[in-house]
Symmetry: C2
Subunit: 470 residues, 2 copies
């Protein structure tokens, strides 16, 4: 990068916000520690106009730009790859909530707002912003939208893109598209926002969004349920959707191995249920109405399920503290890999009705590949999103096992495709899965994606190598 450009950038956003030394460290790293990040500079603009001006300068100089929010992504989407001469454009200073209209149930917030701050602002207005995920204390709205984040409440409220009414985007040529509408119905032309949502910063930089708010849940019922099989879990899901008037907000499946693993991690000796079970469901229903009605509905669902043999045991959380305790089981599951000293992690989805077949086939396939392997698929079964994770055999070294990581995730992905699924459910493609995407994606779709990229970013300066291989 030329010193002329660097000084032009410093003039533009202030020298304090152009980092080129060791001060880049808080931005130039990979959350999963799988890769190194080597930006030539980290830029921290303070406004949309500054973002636009940076993009114009970089576009002229053909300097690649890697947009970044909270940098909590899991697929290398915010890595500045060595030798590319890319700058990291961190949106963290664009952190204002511009408007919140409680009557309209909408909010306009900037890309650098931390998700938890957005949730809190909604709550302060007696409203609810339902995007919720593990990284919510650190991740930022722009990243959530650019990666179309999922999380635990997708079943009820949809993915991140479903919560968006409008966007402000800096295009790869530095123009600003102000599409910050707060309309529930608008059929005046092509819906362009969905192009940028989930594009991982490869088509432009989301600088702000207008999002939907919802009535605040006043009653939440959480239950841990023992089920004999994934098929029973899927049947229970159908009962629960109908029997709660579609108030079901979360439905997490986990096998015994994961359940036991979480108990170890959490240091809980006692099994909360009366007897071991091969599978468990953590389910939650929520309602904007306070009162005992919802509990009655969930209880009725579970009684029916018990009669039908779909459920063998269940406990309810009777306080917020108990709810928290149940959720900790689920939240500890990503730690199991470290705990057992070696696991392959995946993020896949299949149609809900195919979960049982997919699990059976994939458990069989990875076990055939390596006897003694320990699959523990868990996740958001309510929307078909399974983190099909697989631990090393007890008698194999972690490093030796992880040498098979690619082969094992290929086996999982092969089964995903055979069951009509997706190799990326909620984490995105980043640079980790870009080559695989190019290999497996429907050629017509891939061609359309490439044309879209070439049209919006002909010089390929926006987050190069992510989503689409160069």
């Amino acid at each position: 990068m030329s010193t002329d450009l660097l000084s032009a950038l410093a003039d533009l956003i202030g020298p304090a916000h152009v980092l080129t030394g060791t001060d880049m460290a808080p931005y130039a790293f990979d959350w999963r520690q799988r890769e190194e990040s080597h930006p030539v500079a980290v830029l921290r603009p303070g406004s949309t106009a500054e973002v636009a001006a940076i993009v114009r300068l970089c576009a002229e100089a053909r300097v690649p730009i890697v947009p970044q929010g909270g940098n909590t992504g899991l697929v290398g989407g915010t890595i500045a790859e060595k030798g590319t001469g890319a700058v990291l454009l961190n949106l963290g200073r664009l952190n204002r909530i511009r408007t919140l209209d409680a009557t309209d149930y909408t909010m306009i917030a900037e890309a650098g707002c931390v998700l938890a701050d957005i949730q809190a602002a909604a709550q302060a207005a007696d409203r609810y912003f339902p995007l919720s995920l593990g990284a919510e204390g650190t991740c930022m709205l722009g990243g959530n939208l650019s990666s179309n984040a999922g999380g635990i409440l997708t079943l009820r409220y949809g993915n991140a893109r479903d919560l968006v009414l409008g966007l402000e985007v800096v295009l790869p040529d530095g123009r600003v598209w102000n599409g910050l509408r707060t309309l529930r119905k608008d059929n005046s032309g092509y819906d362009l926002k969905h192009l940028f949502l989930g594009a991982e910063g490869t088509l432009g930089i989301i600088t702000a969004a207008s999002v939907k708010l919802f009535p605040r849940p006043r009653q939440v019922e959480t239950a841990l349920v023992a089920v004999p099989s994934p098929a029973a879990a899927v049947a229970l899901l159908g009962l629960a959707r109908t029997g709660t008037g579609d108030s079901l907000s979360a439905f997490e499946l986990m096998p015994r191995f994961a359940f036991d693993g979480s108990r170890e991690i959490l240091g809980r000796d006692q099994d909360p249920l009366s007897a071991p079970s091969p599978w468990y469901v953590l389910l939650e229903a929520s309602s904007g109405m306070a009162g005992p009605a919802l509990r009655g509905q969930v209880e009725a669902v579970l009684e029916t399920a018990l009669d039908q043999g779909l459920v063998t045991d269940a406990i309810f959380a009777d306080s917020m503290e108990q709810q928290r305790k149940l959720w900790l089981i689920r939240e500890s599951l990503p730690e199991i890999g470290r705990k057992i000293g070696g696991a392959v992690h995946t993020d896949v989805s299949v149609p809900v009705s195919r979960i049982p077949d997919f699990l059976a086939a994939t458990i069989a396939a990875v076990t055939a590949y390596m006897p003694g392997i320990r699959p523990y698929p868990f996740g958001h079964a309510g929307d078909g999103n399974i983190h099909f994770n697989i631990g090393r055999p007890v008698d194999m070294e972690g490093a030796a096992y992880l040498a098979h990581a690619h082969a094992i995730s290929d086996i999982v992905h092969e089964q995903v495709l055979a069951h009509g699924g997706s190799i990326s459910a909620e984490h995105g493609i980043g640079n980790h899965k870009a080559e695989e995407l190019a290999r497996i994606k429907n050629p017509v779709e891939l061609d359309l994606m490439r044309k879209m990229k070439a049209m919006l970013d002909p010089d390929g300066i926006m987050n190069p190598g992510k989503v689409l291989v160069r």
Copy 2:
């Protein structure tokens, strides 16, 4: 059109499905009778492969194609304009429901399926497809999706695009994009389906879609409510969303003029409420749970609203017959224009919180333009979609009044834009609003739309003159 091409088309799909004479009449007309349609032929293919082959032949010969479903659109979107040499491609024979998976809550249906048939198929599987609009007995899925139809349940279930998980599209070059996934979470690349949804056939032809199903409502509460003002109605909406646990499915606002008009049309002498009111709300809440809980919730909302002066009177429907009777009031409103011998119709939206200001300002503006004019704005206030319709002054001839139609709708649209709204909420752009769109749309957005069109349809053969002016 050359006779060679015609005979090639007849060889392709069978001569019985290539119409060129008076047998074109059932397809070559405008639902609103505002325009004439002059296709050189009407083509009725029987499969996606036939659609693709037609498009390839027409693309080679540069023959424009106007796709058509049930032909119930209101903005001239399926008109073959005179002199363009366009063919009408009617999708009516692609009318199979390919799959219905009740466990997965999904269905894959072809573009020519009549909406009511899709609703019935869902119901037969104890599921629910919530798209519902006046034309549902005639309109077809492909048209619903191409125009991103709204309707009365948008408040609860979203617009047509929100119900779609995947699409099959014939592209302008005749390639078929098979994007018929049934996944709730899929972050494997750009989300292309939203480009074709709402594009009114200008970017390709939707031939099939995978759609979301929902639990079937088992309890529906319908109430007609007298409110003193639009501001009271918007406040009631907030109470009702919260107080029913977000079970509110419809929230229709209408002024006294429209209410009285509907009573005349329906021949109902008796006012169902005890005293006249300046404004009315027809609201509906629905739940997948049978039982008295929902009625209690709606009653509690209305009692609170009564205490707060937001509501002056209300009646509940106590049977399905009474529900039907209340809905007939709303459904008769589009007839008022004919009844009073001259009205200007619009389809606009504003943010929900701005409805009261928008209504007041627009009533004042049209009245300033023409004293004695009779505005009767009504519609889906729950999602900000108002049909701001305006009747002729009693002492003016209908024809003389309608000479002002453009000027009057321009005044309405000016107020819409001043209130952050859209000139097309649910009907689309078609050819009626294409020139206006080119005039008022944000230039960056318009430029992106044009680039998208040029990229996908470089020869401009797909529904020319619709959405984007030539």
